[in-house]
């Protein structure tokens, strides 16, 4: 699955432009996977299991990544942009990006430190002063190469270091990889898989996907902030890399049914997968959209602990990959028969 995560990570697909991710996933689906694409672009896949299920179970992971969109081209050939999804301004300065379908190389430049006279060298420029520089001098040089509305993503290779993996868009291509791996490997019970769109701009695709599939139970497979880094201690670390699947009882958007949460804990013990929870209530994902849809859906979120989320350098533990697979497998099987 490591290779799948890496391949998915490299595809450029910010919210609203998930088509290349979708094409890749479709190309990897086995013959027994039936799929359709709904009007928003969600990829809905059904896989028959060895047994039919008592309950309809939907697994969900989002295909979109945070990125940028070209809003204006100046006469000097520089690109003004808007963020797509929540990126901290600090994560933008001095980063390399790829623009458009042709993946033109660009950088988000900064006024050199020597010239930020009079200002404290730590003061960050306002976000609206930032531009993407592709090396052009004049707007005319990039006519036909860059257009308004073009997608922009961080340029970031996957790097394995120590027991960790760094890459862009691990949120939520790592989640997509877990689902794709499960589809390819086969499932115990009939299962629906929703590869959703536009999560980063308000959990939008999941609303339509949940309507179209109409599940009884859902498992949202995601990434969540781990602050187990230098200088942070105790519960402020939220969760830790290498400590297994993160299953929250509550986050910034959802209050998970406590019985479901405890069920996950029991399954972790019985089946032997590593589980941890979030010790800070923060963040949100498609679970809110799904659990509140129609008459309500019983939902849990299972996440990779991830450092530096929403940047060019998301980092997960390779050791958590297997734990995530196991957690999702056993929880979804339990839901199928609950």
């Amino acid at each position: 699955m490591l290779e799948l995560i890496k391949e998915l990570s490299l595809i450029g697909g910010p919210s609203g432009r998930e088509e290349n991710v979708r094409k890749f996933i479709i190309s990897k689906l086995p013959a027994n996977a039936e799929y359709s694409v709904d009007a928003m672009g969600n990829l809905l896949v059904f896989v028959k299991g060895k047994k039919s299920a008592k309950n309809k179970v939907m697994l969900a992971a989002h295909m979109d990544e945070v990125g940028m969109i070209v809003t204006y081209i100046t006469d000097d050939g520089l690109l003004k942009f808007s963020n797509v999804g929540g990126i901290e301004t600090a994560a933008l300065f001095g980063k390399r990006v790829k623009v458009g379908e042709s993946e033109l190389s660009g950088v988000i430049g900064v006024v050199p430190i020597h010239l930020r006279r009079g200002d404290d060298e730590l003061k960050m420029p306002e976000k609206d002063t930032l531009c993407i520089d592709v090396g052009a001098d004049k707007k005319e040089e990039i006519d036909g190469i860059v257009s308004l509305g073009d997608k922009v993503v961080f340029e970031s290779d996957c790097v394995e270091f120590g027991s960790l993996l760094k890459g862009k868009a691990l949120d939520d291509r790592a989640g997509c990889a877990v689902m794709l791996d499960m589809i390819i490997g086969g499932v115990e019970y009939d299962t629906w898989f929703a590869f959703t769109v536009q999560e980063e701009v308000g959990c939008r695709g999941a609303v339509a996907a949940a309507y179209n599939i109409n599940p009884d139970y859902a498992v949202v497979i995601e990434t969540t902030t781990a602050a187990d880094i230098s200088g942070v201690s105790g519960e402020k670390q939220v969760c830790k890399l290498g400590e297994g699947a993160v299953i929250p009882f509550m986050d910034g958007a959802s209050v998970y049914n406590l019985d479901l949460y405890k069920l996950a804990g029991r399954l972790a013990e019985e089946k032997g997968f590593k589980m941890q929870t979030k010790t800070v209530i923060a963040g949100g994902n498609d679970a809110r959209a799904i659990s509140n849809s129609m008459g309500g859906v019983k939902t849990l979120t299972v996440s990779f602990a991830t450092r530096y989320l929403h940047s060019a350098s998301c980092v997960i533990s390779k050791d958590d990959i297997a734990q995530m697979s196991l957690a999702v497998k056993y929880i979804s099987e339990e839901f199928a028969n609950a």
Binding site: S105, P112, C131, V134, I229, R307
Partner: protein, 335 residues
């Protein structure tokens, strides 16, 4: 050539790797040696009024100050890395082997909402994905760290990456020697790729002392117009080498460089500074009883980040102008 130079490690006080890459290149043109400061020196050994060409070979970076209990590295700057570009940046730690690292960012739930300031250097840490015990086997306090930014072509002749300050200057001198070709072996030329410029020009001070030259040209990078730079920055990428005028430089040399550039149709721009230049030129000019010194600069955007941008044409015009100047000293022209 530029890619190999920029990829090499070589922070102030630890320039060995890049010096050995450059020594192989410079050694093709003249005998080389490394002096006590770590400067790479080449000299044709020809008698006569000597000219010294200098570019600094060190690049900015960090040094490890501690390995914390989680295996993260604490660091200090070596040279003026820009703190605002550090969040989630990628680095290489030069321990017993090269180790990959990511600079930490402030987790959102711990950040001050509307925080407008980057973190101080002693507040960041480097995530290398190792336990403290494993890290200590490979990494020691004092080991250097460089920002990752292998060179990448942009549109036209623009190139982007780390260490273009001042490896592009080094490249321009090597290219100048290439242009001089056979003539070089009869010219009194000394080349210095100096160490420790970024931490106060120590290399240039010592190297300048050791150089019995009458004239010198230093090559460094300077500021090109970019979004947010004010109207005092007029240099543009691709419009030619920047001939410096400043009280600390030799006015006649600056003028002569301009005349030669016009005569030979070499693209150039002019950069005027009010006191010192902030480059090795200042120290070289005062060294060993003084040398007449000029400064040529390669225009650059995003200085002191991993995404510095220069135009290859500007390296070429810098090289052409130096070669033409050197030949004019002998009363020869390039014709």
């Amino acid at each position: 050539m530029l890619c190999a130079l920029c990829h090499a490690n070589g922070t102030p006080g630890n320039e060995t790797e890049t010096v050995s890459v450059a020594a192989e290149m410079l050694g093709r043109y003249m005998p080389v040696h490394i002096d006590a400061m770590g400067n790479l020196i080449g000299d044709t050994g020809v008698e006569g009024s000597k000219i010294l060409l200098d570019a600094h070979i060190d690049r900015i970076g960090f040094a490890v100050t501690a390995i914390d209990e989680k295996g993260f590295l604490k660091v200090a700057r070596v040279g003026g890395i820009d703190p605002i570009v550090l969040s989630c940046a990628e680095v290489t730690v030069h321990g017993k082997q090269e180790v990959y690292g990511v600079v930490t960012s402030t987790p959102p739930h711990l950040a001050d909402k509307g925080e407008k300031k980057a973190r101080k250097i002693d507040e960041i840490a480097i995530d290398i994905g190792m336990s403290k015990a494993d890290a200590e086997k490979i990494i020691s306090v004092g080991d250097r760290i460089t920002m990752n930014g292998d060179l990448k072509m942009m549109l036209g002749k623009r190139v982007c990456g780390a260490a273009l300050d001042d490896r592009s200057g080094v490249a321009s001198i090597l290219r100048c020697l290439e242009i001089l070709g056979d003539k070089l072996s009869s010219l009194p030329v000394r080349v210095m790729f100096s160490a420790c410029e970024e931490t106060g020009a120590a290399g240039a001070v010592a190297g300048g002392f050791n150089a019995e030259a009458d004239e010198a040209i230093a090559v460094d990078v300077s500021f090109a117009k970019a979004p947010g730079t004010d109207s005092s920055i007029t240099a543009e990428l691709g419009k030619g080498t920047l001939i410096g005028y400043a009280p600390s430089l030799n006015f006649e040399m600056s003028r002569k460089l301009e005349e030669i550039a016009k005569r030979d149709s070499i693209k150039y721009q002019v950069e005027v500074m009010g006191s010192r230049t902030g480059t090795n030129a200042d120290d070289i000019a005062m060294s060993r009883g003084g040398k007449k010194t000029a400064l040529l600069s390669i225009p650059q955007r995003n200085m002191h980040t991993a995404v510095e941008i220069i135009d290859l044409d500007d390296i070429e015009s810098t090289a052409q102008l130096m070669a033409a100047y050197i030949l004019s000293r002998e009363g020869k022209s390039d014709a």
